[in-house]
């Protein structure tokens, strides 16, 4: 029970942090700050994974998000000339409608969550090592096709991103 209560408390804490930083993302007037808030939010999500004993995924999440957000911050500084916090411009529109949409989405999701009988909870998760091994077997067995598809998706993303982002100067060279 104590584990459970501890888990709950941690989940509440990190969850609150994730949501709070999520809100912050859209409340600052600087994109760099937004990026950093998003980084914190995602890290809190990663921490929740750790709390939920999905160590591998948790670590992955934190690392990936950290790198991704730093890319984003650099990107913004480089390309958008936004050093962070200088301009106090409003970057929103249809705010009220969006609030309604977000609110309704939230309400609906909560309704689904709370009105559904999810059945008895599993008490224990597999140990971390076991988990990773099972995930590996899943990856190379049943989900092989999915996994390879993901690979292809990444390849596509690379081709696509380079194709569009390549400097146009080259075009004149040909």
């Amino acid at each position: 029970m104590s584990v459970s209560i501890g888990q709950s408390l941690f989940l509440i804490f990190f969850g609150a942090a994730a949501v709070w930083f999520g809100v912050v993302v859209f409340r600052t007037h600087s994109m760099v700050r937004s990026a950093i808030a998003l980084l914190f939010s995602q890290t809190a999500v990663g921490a929740m994974f750790l709390v939920m004993q999905a160590e591998f995924l948790g670590v992955l999440q934190i690392m990936m998000m950290a790198s991704e957000m730093s890319v984003m911050a650099i990107f913004m500084v480089m390309f958008m000339m936004d050093p962070g916090g200088l301009g106090a411009m409003d970057m929103t529109h249809q705010k009220r409608l969006s609030l309604w949409a977000g609110g309704i989405g939230l309400t609906f999701a909560l309704a689904v969550i709370w009105l559904t009988g999810w059945g008895p909870a599993a008490q224990a998760a597999p140990a971390a090592a076991e988990q990773t091994a099972a995930l590996g077997r899943e990856l190379l067995g049943r989900s092989m096709f999915v996994f390879e598809s993901a690979g292809l998706t990444i390849l596509t993303a690379m081709v696509a991103a380079t194709m569009v982002a390549i400097a146009p100067t080259e075009e004149h060279g040909r």
Binding site: Q94, L97, S98, A101, G105
Partner: protein, 605 residues
């Protein structure tokens, strides 16, 4: 069989040949008429010998065409052929210089064919067909000189009047076929009860139209617009006769109620038309009115239950009236007109012709020993013997007096004026007329055998009848010769000259309302467009989202719908604002709706 074919096909073939070859139509006409006469004689001979010739030809699946020459129809066929032959002979002279000869003779021969078809028809459909074709042929003949003013109108009027009345024949035929289940005439004559009464009255309506009975008499006077041979033929044995022939043939079927109606219609007509004839100032129109009057007498006979007597009078009248018309035509030839004033004294110029004319006129007045004397007496006798005698006899007598009167007047006018020079001799015309006058005189002798052949004994008439007949005939002639019509008719003169038109006649009663109705329909038609438009508009207004269109044209709902749809398309298009966030918002709303529908859907299986 061969006689039947000859009777019908000879005139038809000759007519078509005349139209096709367009040269020497007179020759074709003569040959056709002669062959037709030969055929009719053959038919009559064999019918008289007791052999009925009949032939059945395929037409409609359940209703073949039946041609039949029994004693009655063969007699009529012979009459038609004979009169036709005579009139055609006459017409060769009359039309000698007309450029449209080929068309004239072609049409005339087709007309004769149609008439023969009518008298020989053994089934109602053929009779109806022939009946209508006679109308068509008369339309063409009356309108022959259509370039002259008023002629086209006269032809149109003749056809329309008779066709309106034909509806009666249509309906009667439907009733009879529907009741008897066959279109043959013979079995349907056994029809009794209500169908017989309805059919009888409807037949009377049809006969009234064709035989120009009151109140459908108006067209007949105007039909004088055609060439004179046409008038002669129309009035004597064909168009006008067909109404009487119809009733004579249908007489066995007519119940008492229908007979009385026939008699009364005939009686009224004979008197009214007689007065019109007396008041007339044009010789041909006088003769036309007299025709209506004489057919009225025949209807009286039919109504009195003596159709054979009517037939006799029909035959007699055919010869008489064609003679009179032919004579009138010759006078017209001389004087270029048929007004009585213009014709004054014309008789003196051609005494021979006048003599023929006079013989025919006296015959019409009913003087012995001419044919009409016998038939008129028979009619009077029948009227006397009829249960409706109190109605029929006075009218029959009145008609007879008037016959004498207007003929007397005509003779007086023709004889009393100044003599003028004659033109060229008219051999063909005279020949045609001579034959007919000869018939007028001699036919009476044949009536006895004819009655015997048709199975009606010439029963002894009470003495009063010949006395009455002779009296009214002579009296009428004297009155007509000596007293001016204005004094004879008194206050009735003006209405008689107007043809006793009631309430504007058919023009006022039928034609004008019909045209008004048509105009109403046209207005309604415009209104229909507008209404369609209005419905469309109303629907659109209910939608309340519709942009108002300024154009007030009669586009109708269709165009409204198109505009509305395009408008809707524009609205849809405007939703596509180009702002991605708006699109996304719409999408979000869509998702919400989708979830709503998904949740609700199980309740709407």
């Amino acid at each position: 069989m061969i006689w039947l074919a000859l009777t019908l096909l000879a005139p038809l073939g000759a007519g078509l040949a005349a139209l096709a070859v367009r040269r020497a139509p007179q020759a074709f006409a003569l040959v056709g008429a002669a062959l037709g006469l030969v055929g009719a004689l053959g038919l009559f001979a064999s019918a008289a010998a007791g052999t009925e010739i009949s032939v059945s030809l395929p037409f409609l699946p359940s209703f073949p065409v039946l041609l039949m020459a029994d004693r009655l129809t063969a007699t009529l066929a012979l009459l038609v052929a004979a009169v036709a032959a005579a009139v055609l002979t006459y017409a060769i002279g009359y039309m000698a210089r007309d450029p449209g000869r080929a068309r004239f003779f072609g049409t005339l021969l087709m007309f004769v064919t149609a008439m023969e078809l009518l008298v020989l028809s053994g089934d109602w459909i053929t009779l109806l067909a022939a009946w209508e074709m006679i109308g068509f042929a008369s339309y063409l003949l009356i309108g022959f000189w259509h370039q002259r003013p008023g002629v086209a109108g006269a032809a149109t009027r003749a056809f329309l009047y008779t066709r309106s009345a034909d509806l009666g024949l249509y309906l009667a035929v439907f009733v009879l076929i529907g009741t008897a289940g066959t279109s043959r005439i013979a079995p349907t004559l056994a029809t009794t009860g209500t169908p017989a009464l309805i059919a009888g009255l409807l037949l009377l309506v049809a006969a009234m139209g064709k035989s120009a009975q009151v109140p459908l008499q108006d067209w007949l006077m105007r039909a004088m617009a055609g060439p004179t041979p046409v008038s002669a033929l129309l009035h004597s044995a064909t168009l006008v006769a067909s109404g009487a022939i119809l009733l004579i043939r249908a007489a066995p079927m007519l119940p008492a109620g229908a007979l009385v109606m026939v008699g009364i219609v005939g009686g009224i007509t004979t008197v009214v038309a007689g007065m019109m004839a007396l008041a007339e100032r044009d010789l041909k129109r006088l003769l036309a009115a007299s025709t209506a009057s004489q057919y009225g007498l025949m209807l009286v006979a039919v109504g009195a239950g003596a159709p054979v007597v009517a037939l006799l009078h029909l035959i007699a009248h055919a010869a008489i009236k064609s003679s009179l018309f032919l004579g009138a035509g010759i006078f017209q030839h001389d004087r270029d007109g048929t007004g009585l004033e213009a014709l004054a004294g014309a008789g003196r110029a051609r005494p021979g012709i006048f003599a023929g004319f006079a013989v025919a006129a006296l015959a019409l007045a009913g003087l012995p020993p001419m044919a009409a004397y016998f038939s008129k007496d028979a009619i009077l006798a029948a009227a006397l013997a009829s249960p409706a005698a109190p109605w029929l006899l006075p009218m029959a007598l009145g008609g007879s007096v008037l016959s004498g009167a207007y003929m007397g007047r005509a003779l007086q006018v023709l004889w009393s004026g100044t003599r003028s020079e004659t033109r060229a001799p008219v051999p063909f015309m005279a020949a045609g007329m001579a034959v007919l006058v000869g018939l007028t005189v001699t036919l009476g002798a044949g009536f006895g055998p004819l009655e015997a052949m048709l199975g009606v004994g010439a029963d002894a008439k009470p003495w009063i009848v010949p006395a009455m007949g002779l009296g009214v005939g002579l009296g009428g002639l004297l009155l007509g010769w000596s007293i001016a019509p204005a004094r004879l008719l008194g206050p009735l003169l003006a209405p008689a000259r107007n043809g006793f038109v009631v309430l504007g006649g058919m023009d006022g009663l039928v034609a004008r309302p019909a045209l008004a109705l048509a105009a109403q329909c046209e207005r309604f038609e415009q209104g229909l467009f507008a209404a369609v438009l209005a419905i469309g508009r109303a629907g659109l207004a209910a939608g309340s989202v519709v942009r108002r269109t300024d154009r007030e044209t009669i586009d109708g709902m269709i165009f409204g719908l198109v505009e509305y749809t395009i408008d809707l398309g524009g609205r849809v298009r405007r939703l596509q604002s180009g702002f991605i966030h708006r699109d996304l918002a719409l999408t979000a709303a869509g998702i919400a709706l989708l979830i709503g529908v998904l949740l609700a859907a199980p309740f709407y299986p």
